[in-house]
């Protein structure tokens, strides 16, 4: 291996030789190397979070037909730095009766739960933190930590609205974890492994998006709900409960929540890319070098993040009872159906050529989608008929209340 093909291992070997040459034991040298790589990964993630603030503001501006930040630096690129300087300089106001330790721990835990996900994300065939063999469930576990930090934030603020916002957000997030975990079973099933690197490598003829488009769609929807972003952003319903669980957080603590949310969105874009769109693979281009593969991965992750932003700035907020009904009465049965059909079709088409395999699974998904649309259509018709038979007909120009004064 040389510097170009395998930079991480090359540098690691060189540093290890250097450290053991200085007299450190092998174990200690490995631990120091691990710490160096962890710090570099985390700093890269934080720098990416800062860059994402600029991307977010420019994109929302374009969606709203305005320019966005363009004063500070070329094209407003240094705007996030100005934001950080402002946030650091703000006074840190802690509510009087707040629970100090839990109150301070919550934003740190929220950002830590997102940074933890970067340990398993493979940027290139040779650039990744660790190849865990249970990486898909690790994604779910890190989400659990994030949910916990929201309850802690809401409770420790000693504020009715924070508590209410925290309850609603947590009910939202845990409900949408079920379709997400069920759909995460589909790449596991199709690849035969739970490690994200293995799933990336297994997408060789076709990306899993073409084998299971419904799975990708359900994953995207539940990921948007998990992030607490619009249209599921009950926690930040400005007109209703004024910023929800982070209402009492000022200065850099709020900055940590905000940066955590953006980085979480980008990380989920990255996971969509890895699980359904082939990760760093692109028709063999990734073999040109690790930097090319990392660039491919980041472009795909940015594309996923773009879709999440697009959804956020286009759709209105959904009410909580609609949201929960949508999850438990539509997404969960749909995810279970897709899982069962994918399992059966995978076994039936196991030995055939890749074209027939891909086509068979794709058509199965299409059949499920068409059947779902037909069921919804029939249900809507039945609902309209029962409502029409129970409510008397309107006269022209009358409202329902006027009929029974």
């Amino acid at each position: 291996m040389n510097l170009l093909n395998d930079p991480i291992h090359f540098i690691a070997q060189w540093l290890q030789g250097l450290l053991t040459g200085w007299g450190l034991s092998l174990v200690l040298a490995k631990v120091i190397l691990a710490l160096i790589s962890i710090t570099v990964t985390i700093l890269f993630a934080m720098a990416l979070a800062i860059f994402l603030v600029w991307v977010e503001r420019k994109v929302v501006a374009r969606f709203q037909d305005r320019i966005g930040p363009n004063r500070i630096g070329p094209y407003g690129l240094f705007q996030p730095l100005a934001d950080i300087i402002k946030l650091i300089g703000k006074e840190d106001i802690t509510p009087a009766l707040a629970d100090k330790f839990v109150y301070n721990l919550a934003p740190v835990l929220a950002l830590a739960s997102v940074i933890l996900l970067w340990a398993i994300l493979p940027l290139a065939p040779n650039i990744y933190g660790v190849d865990l063999n249970v990486a898909v469930l690790y994604l779910v576990a890190a989400g659990a930590l994030g949910t916990l930090s929201i309850i802690m934030a809401g409770w420790a603020s000693n504020n009715k609205y924070a508590l209410l916002g925290a309850f609603r957000t947590v009910a939202n997030m845990i409900s949408y974890e079920i379709p997400m975990v069920l759909v995460l079973l589909i790449p596991t099933l199709l690849a035969g492994t739970m490690s994200v690197k293995g799933i990336t490598e297994a997408q060789s003829p076709t990306w899993f998006f073409f084998l299971s488009p419904l799975g990708a769609l359900i994953f995207l929807i539940s990921a948007v709900a998990e992030l607490g972003r619009s249209p599921f952003d009950l926690s930040e319903a400005e007109s209703e409960i004024v910023a929800g669980f982070h209402i009492e957080y000022t200065g850099m603590k709020f900055g940590l929540f905000y940066a955590g949310e953006l980085l979480h969105a980008f990380t989920f874009g990255g996971f969509t890319a890895v699980l359904f769109f082939g990760g760093y693979r692109f028709f063999g281009l990734e073999n040109l070098g690790p930097l090319v593969a990392a660039a491919i991965f980041l472009v795909k992750a940015m594309f996923g993040y773009w879709i999440i932003m697009w959804i956020k700035y286009t759709m209105p907020r959904i009410r909580i009872d609609h949201m929960l009904a949508f999850n438990w009465k539509f997404l969960t049965p749909l995810a279970l159906t897709v899982l069962m059909v994918t399992a059966v079709m995978e076994k039936l088409l196991a030995g055939t050529s890749p074209w027939i395999y891909s086509l068979g699974l794709f058509l199965a998904n299409l059949a499920i989608a068409l059947a779902t649309i037909e069921i919804l259509h029939a249900f809507g018709k039945w609902q309209r008929k029962t409502e029409a038979s129970t409510k008397p007909a309107l006269q022209a120009g009358q409202y329902y209340e006027e009929q029974n004064p």
Binding site: I84, E91, L163, I174, M194, E248, K329, P333, A343, K347
Partner: protein, 118 residues
């Protein structure tokens, strides 16, 4: 393995330390002038009314219960999904039986009205 999980443990430790650094830096740089008005609870800019607890609605607990059952089910399906590719067809049918029993549970909860946000 050992190296993998040790890496994750170190990652957790460093991942908790790194967000603390901006907070510490802010503590050095930012002003600190607490007074009773600034530290009072925020309630749309007016004085707070009543205690700072809310009546916890039962549906939150109900949804958490249903979530727990389905979370355990989904997690138990992971070893099945992992090995499905290497084992014959009836393995898929076993898993489908597992899922169908719980779909029956979901339908029961639906019909009993437990999935309503009242």
């Amino acid at each position: 393995m050992q190296n993998g999980w040790l890496y994750i443990g170190l990652f957790l430790i460093v991942g908790i330390i790194v967000p603390i650094l901006p907070l510490l830096f802010s503590r050095l740089v930012a002003p600190r002038k607490p007074n009773s008005i600034k530290q009072s609870t925020y309630e749309c800019g007016i004085k707070t009314v009543g205690d700072s607890w809310v009546q916890f609605k039962a549906p939150y607990y109900v949804f958490a219960l249903v979530f727990l059952v389905f979370d355990v089910e989904a997690v138990l399906l992971f070893p099945w999904a992992l090995m499905l590719k290497r084992l014959p067809l009836f393995v898929a049918l076993e898993g489908i039986l597992f899922i169908l029993i719980l779909v029956a549970g979901l339908v029961y909860a639906w019909r009993k009205g437990m999935l309503e946000w009242l």
